[in-house]
Amino acid sequence: MKGAEAMMKALEAENVKVLFGYPGGQLLPFYDALYHSDLVHILTRHEQAAAHAADGYARASGNVGVCVATSGPGATNLVTGVATAHADSSPVVALTGQVPTKLIGNDAFQEIDALGIFMQITKHNFQIQKTSEIPKIFRKAFEIAKTGRPGAVHVDLPKDVQDNELDLEKYPIPAEINLQGYKPTKFGHPLQIKKAVELMKIAQRPVIIAGGGVQIANATPELIKLSEYAQIPACTTLMGKGVFPEEHSLALGLVGMHGTQASNYSVYESDVLIAIGCRFSDRITGDISTFAPNAKIIHIDIDPAEIGKNVRVDIPIVGDAKAILKDILIYLMKKEIANKTEWMENVKKLQKKSLPIMEFDNTPIKPQKVIKEMMNAIREVDPSLTNTVLTTDVGQNQMWMAHYFQTSAPKSFISSGGQGTMGFGFPAAIGAKFARPDANVIAVTGDGGFLMNSQELATIAEYEIPVIVVIFDNRTLGMVYQWQNLYYGKRQCAVHLGETPDFIKLAESYGIDASRVEKPEDINEAFKTALNSGKPYLIDIIIDPAEALHMVPPGGNMTNILFPERQEPTPKAQCFSEMKKILNPKV
């Protein structure tokens, strides 16, 4: 058989059901083999969306997502999506076409050094040089992507490698693969686990920070058990949102720059901090010297390089979060836990202070009100909100959702954290729908982020993928505008999007039903229609452009939360007139 056929066999052996991609000249043999296979291929309208869709699929399912693009510009268009997946430890395998081996290095048509480009934004990458290497390299790529700390893996496929003949009997797809330089640790060191248990036992003011690692390890049951047994309140990072049910009496909500008072103050006052699968990003810690200043830190992470990278750690435990928490529980359940009445009362007070205020009847609509009505409408078809997957874009929409939308199930809140990639939300929802076909999949996005990948309306229309797109429409790049108001003397520069396009007409041009909502009383109806339609649907909600989000300044003390005042967007007219002069010099 041809190399490309062996690739299909290899993908099937990895249980791949769906690929997201975009064909091109150097992938013709690959796509010809695809034609003869049972694999489903979703043609996105831009390669970046293919990468985000594969990423959304991976995050919602826990399995590897696969995206494909041709050489040169196809490969470079994948870069943002692959970097986004890798930054959030999402298992994505990216396949790129490449010019035939004899042309490599000649600057041939659509040739680019994809191996070099992807090297720094993946966990590992390969360039297949001989057809006989296909079975082994595909196996390695998937193994590396999904084990240990998951991540993105890239495989470069020269055209002749796809075209040449291969004897699968002679070069079979290996079941087991031994990578000399890659041996992830699963189980935590027993001594460290015992030390951690001793600390948890005597802790007076303990707090858990649960991150994306808990999501990946499916460690939610163990996390809840630990929190309840030892009376430890838990906050989550953006990546960890959903791993600890937010209606739980021990839930503190989001931690960090846009976190709740309950989370940030509890972490600040804690005497023992248990971080699970979190990498202490700058968005969590702010100023390191004022981060949990009096706490002994227990850090559980599968990636040893994350331990001690950003904060000092007292008890490091390397391994899989689920396995480690299980071991911790075995020891802990035999122990008496220190009385924490005072701490619990304190936590309750903080939780009361952090209760979100969401009931507004203003027009233009407040985003809090949108989210409240959205939850009400979803509850009518999904009372526990556990059969709903949300993806967000990046910016204010993302932080409003992270803050106000109550998430109770893991892998149901999907957002670009590490890279903060605008344009992620909508295509990620397409992938998520393939992972969770029975769930309500809703992409929440700002108007700026949506315009970065709005061409995917064609994809959901063509394949009839019932994804709901919700646009928080304020005609402003809200997050940047907010920062300019706070830190740059309200000088708003290049953050106004103007009045185009008409999103309803845009959706209709693709044949997608849409509704615009301008009054708070109409939100619920729009969501009901969308949720019951069973078809792709777009809701354009005109929100208050002056609404800003509380935040901690970057590098600040996490207890200094700012509540910005209202500030109407004021486009700088001068810019506009100057620009007109350039375009119409005669006027």
Binding site: L115, G116, M119, Q120, K123, H124, Q127, I144, L179, Q180, G181, Y182, K183, D303, P304, A305, G308, K309
Partner: protein, 169 residues
């Protein structure tokens, strides 16, 4: 406390490994003084000797980040162990007269160096040793006029019978 660390790394002998490692150093702003690569007793494995400057926190990250790479088999900090270190340096010294030539030859002999090339105006000396010894020789001939220098950077091995083995077994 900033100081120099000699890190010995066993890697799979494959194209692209050097790029992966140098990219890692660039991206994370690790301060690298020198890097040497060569094959080992095992044709599939190469050894890199990397000299890095930084404090203990930086060094810990260097070792951990290197270990994360799939093609890296073993990383060790030789500063924490007894080791032998050598560098090879070729230096072309300006020596237009018989006197200056014999002076360079004399210096080379004292430093156990070799004269490996000769012209009417220059002598090329091969000198091997640790960094300090090479520097001392260069300081000695500098007043005479150094035309060119080529240095390999440091390479090193642990002392005694101990050897580096994969810790990822």
């Amino acid at each position: 406390m900033e100081h120099k660390h000699i890190i010995s790394v066993l890697v799979l002998h494959k194209p692209g490994v050097l790029q992966r490692i140098s990219g890692l150093f660039t991206r994370r702003w690790f301060n690298i003084s020198s890097m040497t690569v060569g094959s080992t007793e095992n044709p599939d494995v190469a050894r890199m000797t990397i000299v890095v400057q930084g404090d203990d926190t930086v060094l810990e990250q260097v070792v951990k980040q290197l270990n994360k790479l799939v093609e890296v088999i073993k990383v060790t900090d030789l500063n924490s162990k007894k080791s032998v270190q050598r560098e090879l340096c070729l230096v072309k010294v300006y020596a237009p007269t018989e006197d200056s030539k014999s002076q360079v030859i004399q210096y080379a002999n004292i430093f156990r160096g070799k004269i490996i090339d000769l012209s009417t105006e220059t002598l090329t000396v091969e000198i091997t040793g640790d960094e300090q010894k090479v520097n001392a020789f260069l300081d000695l001939v500098r007043p005479m006029g150094i035309k060119e220098i080529a240095r390999t950077g440091l390479t090193a091995l642990m002392r005694g019978s101990k050897i580096l083995k994969s810790n990822k077994a």
